[in-house]
């Protein structure tokens, strides 16, 4: 019962702060609401018994990425006045497309709700021990391949960030 209340509370918090992210005029306020959203989602992960994911989510998103966001906002000195105004028809088109995607997602989730509940799943599936086991056995190749991805990103960041020395 408690989990259910917690679920509703976290969902409300996540959706409410997500709306604040979009609607608040001040960029710093947006970022702060985004942090709340991330924490609410991390709470959902804990409810689903995925502690590792919850911890990583908080560290990476609420920690690292949010700090970057704040830095960029401060360095660019963004505030209410400097927010660019989009023309009306772009807002209209964006509302239509976003609304259409929402309709599709609602239809998708409704079809899932009509299905019989899945058979009992292993509750310990999200635990660190199981996660590590799967990562180093079944998913060993993707795990290793993702190092290529990071290597590319790092080499690229160095290349783009390096100061050019122009030989005359």
């Amino acid at each position: 019962m408690l989990t259910q209340y917690l679920f509703y509370f976290l969902s409300f918090l996540a959706i409410f702060s997500a709306l604040l992210v979009v609607f608040s005029k001040n960029p710093v306020q947006s970022v702060l609401s985004l942090i709340v959203t991330f924490f609410a989602i991390a709470g959902h992960y804990v409810l689903l018994n995925a502690q590792f994911l919850a911890a990583v989510h908080v560290i990476v998103y609420a920690g690292a990425i949010m700090v970057l966001f704040l830095f960029v906002i401060m360095l660019l000195n963004l505030n209410e006045d400097s927010e660019p105004q989009k023309p009306g028809w772009i807002k209209f088109a964006a509302t239509i497309t976003g609304g259409l995607l929402m309709v599709v997602m609602i239809a998708a989730l409704r079809s899932a709700a009509e299905m019989p509940a899945p058979q009992k799943v292993d509750a310990s599936i999200g635990m660190i021990k199981n996660l590590g086991h799967v990562l180093f056995t079944d998913f060993a190749l993707p795990f290793e391949i993702s190092s290529l991805l990071f290597l590319v990103a790092m080499v690229g960041a160095v290349m783009l960030g390096k100061k050019e020395i122009h030989n005359p």
Binding site: L141, V152, A153, V155, K162
Partner: protein, 457 residues
Amino acid sequence: MNALLILSALGIFALLTDILGLKKILFPASIVALIGAMVASGLEWGHHTSYFNGMMCTDNTAILYTELLLFAGLMWFLICGSSIREHQTEHYAILSFALAGAVVMVTFSNLVMLFLGIEILSISMYIMAGSQKDKYSSNEAALKYFLMGSFSTGFLLFGIALIYGCTGSFFTSGIAAAIQQPMTLPHGMLLAGVLLILTSLVFKIAGFPFHFWAPDVYQGAPDTITAFMASVVKIAATAAFFRLFSMAFGSMVQEWSFTLCLIAIGSMMIGNMGAVLQDNLKRMLAFSSVAHAGYMLIAIITLNKFSEAALLFYITAYTLATLASFAIIIRVGQENGNGDVSSLAGLGKRNPLAAATMTIAMLSLAGIPPLSGFFAKYFLFNAALQENYTWLVLAAVAGTLISVYYYFRVIHSMLILKGSEEKISNSPIQIIVMLVLSALLILLGIMPDLLLSRIGS
């Protein structure tokens, strides 16, 4: 698998050459490694091995695409290797990793691998598009490509999540098996997932209505990188698209085929009509690549026993012609840099070999009979007609007729218009590349069985 290992090793080696002082041998080493990878991946022919609990599977189609990717990579290194001077090691490393990502994309049998492959390839391309740091257009291309590309990756991930949510599997075979039992899975969720994945993949192959990035990025990126995008990225994305939709979603073809039909027709029309209006060569080829993405989608829509071979043949013909035309664009671009169709004026006198190669490439892209481009289109249309897609074929033929105009404009500019008389010389490597590519374009046109017989077996 062998190719993947060799390419990753090559990338790491390239990064180390700066420290080890082996920069001189980087170019020959890359060529040797790529040839070695081609041989090594050829050794897996016919074994149909699956690696690491079915994460990737080297069936014969995957090997053929791998060979094609490696060949395109080899040709790319031969064409562009010597013209990369700034950040040479980084270029070599990132592009070999990009090739590794492309190989993952054509051999995957698990959606996680597909995602990683797409990301490795895309992130390399975002970086490479912006590699001319002092050029405004290059920065613009990189930023546009990065923003839109990461958005489409979001769609892909969301789609994969929905598919996993309703089928309970990341494996293409597992998904296919789950779709066979329609009673036990939420149909709406499956459709939404397929739609989101489709959106993202159509973006990656630059199909209508997600093609808006292609002209700007192709034009803004350095010539060498555009050549890589138009060949390797196109092969990998199209092959991955076909692989996913035939292996995982093949049994629900009638549910997504109509959407894909509209996308294909839109790509062919917008691509061909857009290309007519362009003066910039790279921009024109970008629109032409949108149109060709539309033709390739026909193979994915039809999904019968002919379409796999037809698609492979089409991609091969397209890649050969694209690489050949970019070899000339890069060579001419080194002489005078505005990159317009008119910059080719008088090339017939200035450099007859380049003009001849470009003519063959353009004729092949337009689908003129003795060349491979004609048979590529013929096999594709034939596959579509078997499934009674007459109207789709009619639209494709109409698109082809439009395309003749702008391909012939290039030929007209090279052979008939008068330009400067100054000769352009070819290095021995360039002569070899041009001869090999044009020979293959003619050879596959005369004897398409050389390639087609491989895929039937």
